[in-house]
């Protein structure tokens, strides 16, 4: 009966590792810390898949021992013996691991996870093994690297292996490891190479190779850093753009700086918060979609508030720009205090939906968060929309006419009053959209608008009025410049330098980057 025999044999084979692991668990529970460390080291060097549950339980602190020194694993609040159905003798006491053992457990777990079917798990494990790995794992890493198919896991393993080989006896092995480290762009490789160079590396060839590799790694890291700075600059620029676009429209049209514009951002963000609350109460299953609904609602809310302000206050102050500035500042104070009284002075919590959290890893030291990528795209989308609105619609034609010459436009039958109101609503609505975007990357509090308003004024000053291109260039230019200066001379000095640069720039082009040409003088 070959089949029956095979079955029995197979069954035995299956049982064997199980019992082995169960025995191991018992042995581990019974051992003293020094022996436990030894066990963990041995396990790490020779992983078997069956040991994985035990190690996971160890890491999560679910392993306990009873009075008979038998191992039990906690599962769903019940105790299960590691070797089957045995009942615990007395209440099992959980094992407490010291820091060293915890580190060793993590290493052992990682080495076991290298055998996992899922490439992502293997990648995590390989990255874990790049840190503080005992030399005993060298053969394992070599064999896994040979068997590995996924490219990224290969890279990670290479790095982990090279880290270990740096300590090898044979200079040739060390040399190869140093060269391999040079091909990666990982911050860890830099620290390893730096410590090698400051340490007592005796072999001259290895030394010079290490220097060369270090330079290579630094170059690659520099690329990542620069790209990162450029990206955060673009991200800042997109936010400034959303904040300044509406401001530039109303300033170009009415010659009025709306100091309450920042509060429109704030109100947009609070509208997002309200929409999120509404979704949580009424339709929690669609919660992830709330930013999409928040966009039109925020636009409507802020546009209506903006139009109301224009009709009640700002309309009466045309021709007196400085007074308008003060009056709108008063409005902004009232709005801030109103929000503070209604929602409290603390920040409210606006959570990213899942499709906006996380990011894409481009380089070892460069992660681009999804929310920022989406916001850059969104800002460009809003610009395109505004451009279409201003250049392809009747309203846009009227707005442009009034911007260029108010009296002449009025003579030709353009209803300037209504155009003013609608343009003010449009500007405020765009700020509301900006508020939705801001709520996804920063804190939402009553002072939200204040922190962006001065920068967006500078964008308007720099970009000039009446031209979208000016605002776009100025916003992205200021954003990128800000972020490139920040690591060099600090955020504050960077801001001051930018202010000085703008003042100097205005010496050359008093009307901003893209000025409308005209011959009018009062």
């Amino acid at each position: 009966m070959p089949t029956a025999l095979t079955r029995i044999l197979l069954g035995l084979l299956l049982l064997l590792p199980l019992t082995a692991s169960a025995n191991e668990a018992d042995a581990f529970v019974a051992a003293n810390p020094a022996k436990q460390a030894k066990l963990l080291q041995d396990w790490a060097a020779a992983p078997v898949p069956e040991r994985l549950p035990l190690l996971q339980a160890l890491q999560q602190g679910r392993v306990a021992g009873d009075a008979d020194k038998r191992a039990f694993i906690q599962r769903n609040d019940a105790w299960q013996a590691a070797d089957g159905q045995a009942q615990p003798n007395g209440t099992p006491r959980k094992l407490r691991l010291n820091n060293r053992l915890r580190g060793l457990t993590a290493t052992a777990l990682a080495s076991h996870q290298l055998l996992d079917k899922d490439a992502a798990v293997r990648l995590d494990a390989a990255q874990q093994l790049q840190r503080n790995t005992p030399p005993a794992l060298l053969p394992l890493l070599e064999s896994r690297l040979a068997a590995e198919e996924d490219e990224r896991v290969q890279d990670a393993l290479t790095l982990a292996l090279a880290n270990l080989q740096l300590a090898a006896e044979d200079p040739a092995v060390r040399l190869a490891a140093v060269e391999r480290l040079g091909q990666t762009g990982d911050p860890l490789a830099r620290t390893r190479l730096e410590s090698l160079l400051t340490g007592e590396e005796s072999d001259a060839a290895v030394r010079s190779a290490a220097e060369k590799s270090l330079a290579q790694v630094k170059n690659k890291l520099l690329v990542g850093e620069l790209l990162g700075q450029a990206f955060s600059g673009l991200s800042l620029g997109s936010i400034l753009l959303l904040a300044a676009l509406g401001l530039a429209i109303t300033f170009g049209l009415l010659g009025v700086i709306n100091m309450a514009h920042g509060e429109m951002l704030m109100l947009g963000a609070y509208t997002t918060y309200m929409v999120q609350l509404m979704f949580q109460r009424l339709a929690p299953e669609y919660l992830a979609l709330y930013p999409l609904l928040a966009l039109p609602i925020a636009f409507l809310v802020t546009a209506c508030i903006g139009m109301a302000l224009e009709r009640t206050v700002i309309r009466h102050l045309y021709g007196r720009p400085l007074e308008t500035l003060l009056a709108t500042w008063g409005i902004s104070l009232i709005l801030i205090q109103l929000v503070r009284v209604t929602f409290g002075a603390q920040n409210v919590e606006v959570a990213n939906p899942y499709w906006l959290s996380g990011g894409v890893q481009v380089l070892p030291n460069l992660v681009l968060p999804y929310n920022r990528i989406v916001i850059i795209g969104f800002a460009l989308f809003v610009v395109a929309l505004t451009w279409l609105l201003l250049n392809k619609t009747r309203l846009g034609l009227n707005v442009r006419a009034v911007t260029q010459n108010r009296n002449m436009a009025a003579c030709c039958g353009v209803p300037t009053g209504r155009v003013d109101m609608l343009a003010f609503g449009l500007g405020s609505g765009i700020a509301g959209l900006g508020g939705v975007a801001l709520s996804q990357i920063g804190n939402v509090g009553p002072d939200l608008g204040q922190s962006y308003i001065i920068d967006s004024f500078l964008v308007v000053v720099l970009g000039g009025v009446g031209q979208l291109a000016g605002s776009v260039t100025a916003a992205f230019g200021l954003g990128v410049l800000n972020k490139f200066l920040e690591p060099q001379i600090g955020a504050v000095l960077g801001k001051i330098l930018i202010l000085a640069l703008i003042i100097l720039f205005i010496q050359k082009r008093p009307q901003g980057l893209f000025a409308l040409k005209g011959r009018v003088i009062d």
Partner: protein
């Protein structure tokens, strides 16, 4: 400008009121202001004793009144709304604060530097233990900054809203700079814990009274200066500059020098006011440079009446009096009141309280 404000509004207002009446009123206020510190010197249980709290409060408001006057010189007369005068005020205050810190620290370093484990004073603290040099700094720091900023701003003919925004950005940048510990001005906390000035105890009644008198003297002095300026040809040019800069240029005037002079003068006045503010209030920190503070000064001027000399003083007194009352009685509603004030004043009181008084007189 749709609303030509006459620079001799004050003169005309007083002409309507009758010079005697207004002079008598002015002298009465001055007499009360001089009497207050003297009454403070009376024993605490005396019926006419003025408490240290009220003396400090009024002294503070007087300092603000000087700021309002200085702002009015550039806004009401020359038409340039500065939203950065808090910076000049704070610079003067910090210059005085450096001296006071050195006085209270004796031969050692000021306490906040010891916390930062600094072993020696930064170079710009050199000589600040000398009162005269501190006074020079009070004038020089705001004056030079205003000179450099004004030179570039007026050269490229930045005006109107642009100018306001740039000054606001300037004070904002200053605030960020002074918030840093590394700048060497105490960071967040600024300077406080002063003990002595010129060897006198800073909390003593006599010292308080003397500081108060000095503030009154500065106020009267700047009022006189403003009066002389407003009546001179220089003042007329400034008003012309406010109402029609281009036409003034076509008449052959170069507006830059005029603007720069009044701008720097205003900044220096603010610095002096700050220097008197700090020893009386006992603290200076970067929040004085916050854009909010500077813009609030604009509403003092607007409420009182731009382009008049008495108006800003009146406005500073009214708003700050209201603020002290509100923040005790209804702290929640002060910002509502202030915001409403901004709107009401600009919508319904374009000439401020002084304009209102004048109009009633005319009817």
């Amino acid at each position: 400008m749709t609303m030509p404000l006459n620079q001799t509004l004050l003169a005309r207002a007083t002409a309507k009121l009758g010079p005697q009446v207004s002079l008598a009123l002015g002298l009465l206020v001055l007499a009360i202001l001089v009497a207050m510190p003297l009454l403070h010197l009376l024993p605490a249980d005396h019926a006419l004793h003025v408490s240290a709290y009220s003396l400090t409060l009024v002294g503070k408001i007087l300092c603000y009144a000087i700021v309002a006057l200085a702002l009015d010189l550039v806004w009401g007369y020359a038409g340039m709304l500065s939203l950065g005068h808090g910076l000049f005020f704070a610079l003067g205050g910090y210059a005085m604060g450096m001296y006071l810190m050195r006085q209270s620290a004796g031969d050692g370093l000021p306490a906040f530097m010891s916390f930062l484990a600094w072993t020696e004073l930064p170079w710009y603290w050199y000589g600040t233990s000398n009162f005269l040099w501190a006074l020079c700094l009070v004038v020089l720091a705001p004056g030079l900054l205003a000179l450099v900023f004004g030179f570039f701003a007026f050269r490229s003919r930045i005006k109107g809203v642009y100018f306001s925004i740039m000054t606001q950005a300037l004070t904002f940048a200053g605030m960020l700079l002074f918030f840093r510990n590394e700048t060497g001005f105490g960071g967040n906390n600024g300077f406080t814990g002063f003990t002595r000035i010129l060897g006198f105890d800073i909390t003593a009644a006599g010292t308080r009274a003397a500081l108060f008198i000095a503030t009154v003297a500065l106020l009267v002095g700047s009022l006189y200066l403003g009066f002389r300026l407003a009546r001179s040809k220089f003042g007329r040019v400034l008003t012309a500059l406010r109402d029609a800069e281009n036409r003034l240029m076509f008449c052959g005037y170069d507006p830059r020098g005029y603007k720069l002079f009044i701008w720097v003068l205003s900044a220096v006045l603010c610095g002096l006011a700050g220097a008197l503010y700090v020893p009386q209030v006992g603290i200076i920190n970067p929040s004085e440079m916050a854009p909010t503070q500077s813009i609030e000064a604009a509403v003092w001027v607007a409420l009182g009446g731009r382009g008049t000399l008495i108006g800003p003083l009146l406005g500073a007194g009214l708003v700050n009096g209201m603020k002290s009352w509100f923040t005790v009685a209804f702290p929640e509603y002060w910002l509502f009141a202030l915001g409403a004030l901004f709107i009401v004043v600009t919508l319904f009181l374009p000439r401020g309280v002084v304009g209102l008084l004048k109009k009633e007189k005319e009817q």
